[in-house]
Symmetry: C2
Subunit: 430 residues, 2 copies
């Protein structure tokens, strides 16, 4: 068997400790598959004294995280510190500059700095791998970059944040409010104390930016993503959607459409017969629609020590076997930033929900606004009430331009009939 692949590991939180544990537990099996042992020779983390339940004997402890990049005898650095900038980015840059390969689980860093890092890695002839950055243990980076690489993709989309999916699933199953379920998830450790990154869709957008680049051969463009999270989904939305034949999921969607690259993270109504409707709890799932392969669907655990470590170590096995090819789908220097799609020009169906005062004429006012904006209504129900006692009017539109719906909502802005902000959600197609 060849010489071991020696790695330095930055970060010993849940993921880092998971990597150490997985390499220990399945070390022999991994070595047989990789053709050589994969050995942690140096680590760096904040607190040296903390008991993580893993054996670090024989492993060098390095206080200066960035110094791992040049640590003696290291073939590759694994970065699981997190954060788009700061120590993670410093380490990534120094590792590549030192002519060593980098494996990272850091979606924020790849979403923000992936183009620069990829170009540097390719110029330096080292690998940069990030399977764990999207959808945790699901090998979807590999699926797009390699497994479906012969295809022109129509779109790629998925459930990319397990916390949001957990919250929506519990709301749906137990009829509880967003705030209530979030508070419980925080108490149980399923959601962060500061949950904004997850529930506002930023984490999903990081992942979507990476998937879009892989699928469409465009430069990663996180800033162009329209990002709306799940804060404003109320129990009534879930109930009305169910009555109309849908489930609500936070879906990140990307496609070449309406004059450019369309990228959006938003709560969507997903038809009951669509595979994403059956993705429950903290699972993640990704759909890619290729011109040759048709619809590919991947599902699995998107977070947690085991799944994330599984993806990190898969990258290491690739390195040990002799990974090759570009960092993204094509050499980074050939990827250009796409024009941004005009979302208003996209065609689709939409869900609209209004909280209205319970008095005559309200429905006529809404219907008139729809008519005047050219929005055609496919189905409408008025049956629920909001927590404040106002009446819920929910509808699904026929296919039409998003701009028309925006226009209709504009016409209703400030109307005394509405007791709160209307909710708009796109309906997921194919």
């Amino acid at each position: 068997m060849a010489d071991p692949l020696n790695i330095a590991l930055a970060g010993l939180g849940t993921v880092g400790a998971g990597v150490v544990r997985l390499l220990a537990d399945n070390g022999d099996l991994i070595a047989r598959r990789a053709g050589r042992a994969i050995r942690v020779v140096a680590v760096s983390a904040r607190d040296r004294t903390r008991d993580r339940g893993i054996d670090l004997s024989g492993i060098d402890w390095v206080d200066d995280t960035a110094a791992l990049a040049e640590h003696s005898g290291v073939d590759a650095v694994v970065e699981v510190v997190g954060g788009s900038d700061g120590p993670a980015l410093a380490l990534a840059r120094r590792t590549i500059a030192a002519g060593r390969s980098l494996v990272t689980a850091n979606k924020a860093m790849i979403a923000h700095h992936g183009m620069d890092l990829a170009a540097a890695a390719e110029a330096g002839g080292v690998a940069l791998k990030y399977e764990a950055a999207v959808a945790g243990g699901i090998p979807v980076i590999k699926g797009l970059r390699e497994g479906a690489a012969a295809n022109r993709f129509a779109h790629v989309y998925g459930i990319l944040n397990g916390t949001c999916n957990h919250i929506l699933s519990v709301m749906e199953k137990e009829g509880r409010s967003f705030a209530d379920v979030l508070a419980e998830a925080q108490a149980l450790g399923y959601a962060e104390a500061d949950p904004a990154f997850d529930i506002d869709g930023v984490d999903a957008a990081h992942k979507l930016a990476i998937l879009a680049s892989l699928a469409f051969g465009t430069a990663i463009d996180f800033d162009a993503i329209e990002t709306v999270g799940v804060r404003h989904v109320v129990e009534a939305d879930i109930a009305e959607a169910a009555a109309l034949g849908f489930r609500i999921r936070l879906v990140g969607v990307a496609g070449m459409d309406a004059g450019g690259l369309f990228q959006r993270v938003h709560p969507h109504l997903v038809p009951h017969d669509h595979p994403l409707a059956h993705v429950s709890g903290s699972l993640n799932a990704v759909v890619a629609q290729g011109d040759a392969v048709g619809r590919l669907f991947f599902e699995g655990r998107g977070a947690g020590a085991g799944p994330t470590a599984s993806a990190v170590v898969a990258d290491l096995i690739d390195l040990a076997r002799g990974a090759s090819g570009p960092v993204l789908s094509m050499p980074a220097e050939t990827l250009e930033r796409a024009a941004v799609a005009d979302a208003g020009a996209r065609e689709g169906r939409a869900y609209l929900r209004f909280a209205v005062a319970d008095r005559p004429g309200v429905l006529a006012e809404i219907a008139a606004a729809m008519r005047d904006a050219g929005v055609s209504i496919e189905s409408l129900i008025q049956r629920g009430t909001m927590p404040d006692g106002s009446v819920v009017v929910a509808m699904v539109t026929h296919r039409g331009r998003e701009a028309c719906v925006t226009d209709a909502l504009g016409r209703l802005r400030g109307s005394a009939s509405l007791t709160g902000q209307p909710m708009w959600m796109p309906i997921l197609e194919d």
Copy 2:
């Protein structure tokens, strides 16, 4: 850009023509992703004159298929002739002997001769790739061999034959008989004129043998697979299973269990809340349960020109980028044939269906046989009738050893109460 990857293509049926078309349609994109053009320089097929709707100008036509192996300037040979032996195998052996890489969609050849071919390829330092051999366009070979390579697998299973899944789906949806749906599928070209390979489970078993080797690091052992197809599933089974909360799917299952490697292709009852229950029509799906990653689920098109070509060309892109690593999960010479599991010692739940005469005492006789064999009944329904008018008794057992169920069925053999062969199907777990 580097020199093109020059390929010779054996077989211009649905798949071969699909490969030519895909390389033509997406050629520029594929070249950008692969880092070099992928170019068909020679082809061989039975009938030179047939119009396949593809442009073969500038491509050498070779009458002797096996001679493609040494055709001048060829880097890799693509074999889509089919058949476990004969011309396909001869070409495969000659290609590897000639020091060239082989890409194949041939599940039968890999199931029967994969170990020898892999050993020869590894000894010769050439690649042998076969993504298209299992589950068509779904990158599940890559998923197991690379994406989830850090995991110890508990089991791997899936819906591996689209024809059977189509037939079962239509029977379920339209309440029609097996023979009726099969005849229609044949007329529409969804099923072969000689459908035995599909409906008797042989095709699924070929694929399962490959998946099991990848997951468990054992030698491919097709002969050890217990293979039962879908011929004996009747409408009443589907209806009773539905009443009990299940759908019927032909599932290939492999795991290390009961003293060795367990491999079985058999109709299973799949709980409604299991992802395989939602795999309809001709789709394929694979589940792998890893110790770190948990349950991974892959779904997509398992056959047809586009999906199969997608997988073949993905292999070619891997070659063009510089593929590496063993043919299977580990070097072929290190893989040993596993002991065969004692299926009778496995624990699980089962579905049993009896067609019985409509007279007193029949149920007591069945119940007594179950009791005497130590089989505990979880639920039982007697409501349907068979086409011949006999009464259907269907039941689901509690978890127990398969051997007990076999014993119970043995006790009832030859009973005058039974008007036909009992049906036994395992219930799919996790």
